[in-house]
């Protein structure tokens, strides 16, 4: 595979921006050497997988829930314009305001404009992949606004100057000693113990003051409900509920694909999401509401509907199923590649199998084109997906698109891999040529080696195969030859 080679020195290996991140194989090599990271990732993914499997086992209707979930998400996407307009109308009727952002820059500008209206210098935030996707925190920092992450994992990352590596447990690559170091240093608590209970208590105290003081909150949304104009936030810690109820102003940033048709559709998705995400029958808190509630919570409520490449993904009959995703992260925990590398190597806020199909599409196949190859196509991700996204199908399809794009470039005429493939096509298309090639290869093989030991090294491009696998030698006789001799 001959991917676009960029100078690795110009690339930030910790970047979650697909435009500046190194290709997956390069980034992965560095992470694979980090044994601490691999131990942490293995422990976290094993734990969630084990809990998830036990809970799926006790639900005899699990496959029916997956079928319903897939159909609900599919229906929402097939009528996305109608459901978004319905959401907008109902949410605004309940006293909220809806904004539309075609891209990341516009979403960031809208947020900043709203903050300037209330002269806000600080905001508190609920964990949101979408705000990470648009680089909101960095944008706000450039404009003098401090964003405080309030999810425990996001707080660990923010105080440690790190990036998320998992959709649901973004700091799973950090263990308790590492978290202790970060908290002790940034919170000024030199005597802090590394007991998770003590670390959690430190975060509770650190954040409570911010909850009570900061008047503006920013969140994502797990679901937008067209029928009621509702917003649903699924969480564990209560930091979400704090941000939803204490400030005067709440700004939610949601991808346009987050809409679901009906309130009652949550009876399906709120069964599959927590079981898939954290291995719980139900996560501790779910909040569902619309607009501004009189005498209860923020007086100003905004939803920013973000496109940022999604409508283009929707144009692709095969690729669009990636938009059904409800961000549970089960595919990451199940993926044998992710379980080795962790999330950073994917160079995107969306790591793992779902990231491998979502990121290149959101980037219009111009960046992150190594990601569809970051998979063994084993199918574990499809099996655990609560909305039945056929990830392996999309991976193979995107690989074809990567190759097609390359083929259109003039330089590809001189590409070794392409020349090899063209030769293989010519050889395989004709029996006489095929048999001649077999004889030739056997003769060549006898010339360079003896016995029938496996090849551990091949020259040139073929060496990519033997870098990680051995190759069996060609047998001295093919089945056809043996069959013919036997009959004569």
């Amino acid at each position: 595979m001959n991917l676009v080679r960029l100078d690795p020195r110009s690339l930030d290996p910790r970047s979650v921006n697909p435009k500046t991140a190194p290709p997956f194989p390069e980034a992965a090599k560095a992470d694979l050497r980090d044994t601490q990271l691999r131990r942490n990732v293995a422990r976290a993914t094993d734990t969630i997988q084990r809990k998830r499997a036990a809970l799926v086992e006790e639900k005899p209707d699990w496959q029916a829930l997956r079928d319903a979930g897939a159909a609900i998400r599919g229906e929402a996407l097939a009528n996305l314009d109608r459901y978004l307009l319905q959401f907008e109308e109902r949410f605004q009727a309940a006293g909220g305001t809806v904004h539309w952002a075609a891209n990341a820059a516009e979403a960031n500008r809208i947020v900043l404009g709203l903050l300037r209206e209330s002269a806000a210098q600080e905001v508190i935030k609920i964990k949101s992949m979408t705000t990470a996707e648009i680089g909101l925190n960095e944008f706000l920092a450039q404009h003098g606004v401090t964003a405080h992450e309030t999810d425990l994992a996001e707080l660990i990352l923010q105080l440690g100057g790190d990036q998320p590596s998992h959709i649901v447990v973004p700091a799973l690559h950090k263990n308790r000693q590492q978290v202790r170091e970060i908290f002790a240093h940034t919170m000024g608590l030199p005597d802090l113990s590394d007991d998770p209970e003590a670390l959690t208590a430190a975060a509770r105290q650190y954040l409570r003051e911010k909850f009570l003081r900061v008047k503006t909150a920013i969140c994502g949304a797990n679901f937008l409900i067209a029928e009621t104009g509702g917003v649903a936030i699924v969480e564990s810690e209560g930091n979400g509920r704090m941000c939803l109820t204490l400030p005067d102003t709440l700004i939610a940033i949601a991808g346009i694909e987050k809409v679901i048709p009906r309130f009652a559709d949550l009876e399906v998705l709120l069964q599959t999401l927590p079981r898939s995400a954290t291995g719980e029958r139900m996560n501790p808190y779910n909040s569902i509401w619309s607009g501004v509630l009189p005498g209860d919570g923020p007086k100003h409520m905004h939803v920013i509907l973000l496109d940022n490449g999604r409508s283009r993904v929707l144009r692709d009959a095969i690729g669009r199923q990636a938009l059904q995703c409800i961000r549970c992260g089960a595919c990451q925990n199940a993926c044998p590649v992710y379980r080795q590398t962790g999330g950073h190597a994917y160079g995107s806020v969306y790591a793992g199998p779902i990231g491998a199909i979502l990121t290149p599409q959101l980037e219009e196949m111009r960046h992150a084109e190594s990601l569809p190859y970051a998979s063994s196509l084993c199918g574990a991700c499809y099996e655990v997906c609560p909305v039945k996204i056929n990830i392996p199908e999309v991976l193979v399809y995107l690989r074809a698109r990567v190759v097609d794009r390359r083929r259109r470039k003039l330089a590809s005429l001189f590409d070794q891999e392409r020349a090899g493939m063209m030769m293989a096509a010519a050889v395989f298309a004709n029996r006489r040529r095929y048999e001649a090639a077999q004889r030739l290869a056997r003769t060549a093989q006898r010339a360079v080696r003896h016995g029938d030991a496996w090849y551990h090294w091949l020259p040139g491009m073929a060496g990519r195969w033997t870098e990680t696998r051995d190759l069996a030698p060609l047998p001295q006789q093919t089945f056809r030859e043996w069959w013919q001799r036997r009959r004569s």
Binding site: N40, A64, A68, A71, I72, G74, E75, L77, A78, L80, L84, L85, H99, W100, A102, D151, A153, L172, N175, R176, P196, E197, T200, R204, L207, R208, L212, T228, S236, E237, G238, R241, L244, T245, L246, I256, A264, L266, E267, E280, R281, M282, N283, P284, Y285, N286, S287, I288, W289, L293, G295, D296, L305, D307, S311, L314, R315, D316, A317, R320
Partner: protein, 211 residues
Amino acid sequence: MNGARRSSRERVLERIRGANLRAAAAPKPIPREYDRDSTKPAGEIVALFEERLRDYDARIFPVRRDEIGAKAAEILQAAGRQRIAVPDGLPSAWRADGIEWIPDHELSFDVLNAVDGVMTAATVGVAVSGSIALQHGPAEGRRILTLLPDYHLCVIEAAQVVETLPEAFARLDPMRPVTFFSGPSATADIEMTRIKGVHGPRFLDVLLVED
């Protein structure tokens, strides 16, 4: 709404329509073959609800209707919780003597942050997941009331407990806010160790009213 914003709205909607004309599959009815109705007798549903709540480290106290006030006071006194916030519409019979009840007439966040706990009613309970839903009516209070205090005493009737989540959704009013809680707040962000009580109440007691 300014011009730029309107144009993004039109542009996004136009792209979505174009994309769906090109690539959306023919609509199919949603298959709803999953469990929607109860399969268990009422007694078993309530027993399952209790078991699942205990899984989350909540405590459950079965009471008769006429015992609610006395039992609540007993539990609160035993734990040394004296100042208890309540929604304005909480039945007065539930507020027994010996506890300082603080009705929520727009209490400030600082006051709510400093009380010893909160006592409310509930809308519906889900046995399978051990969840309780509030719709924030007069006896359940505004959303912040059950969040800032460190302790929540929740009163729910056996008749409000259903087996499955779909049954619970059938009982909810879609036009009112909903808060589901399943045990005390928790996190597993550090090494997947479940820690109780990050920001919401760390302690949950449930009075289960059986007649």
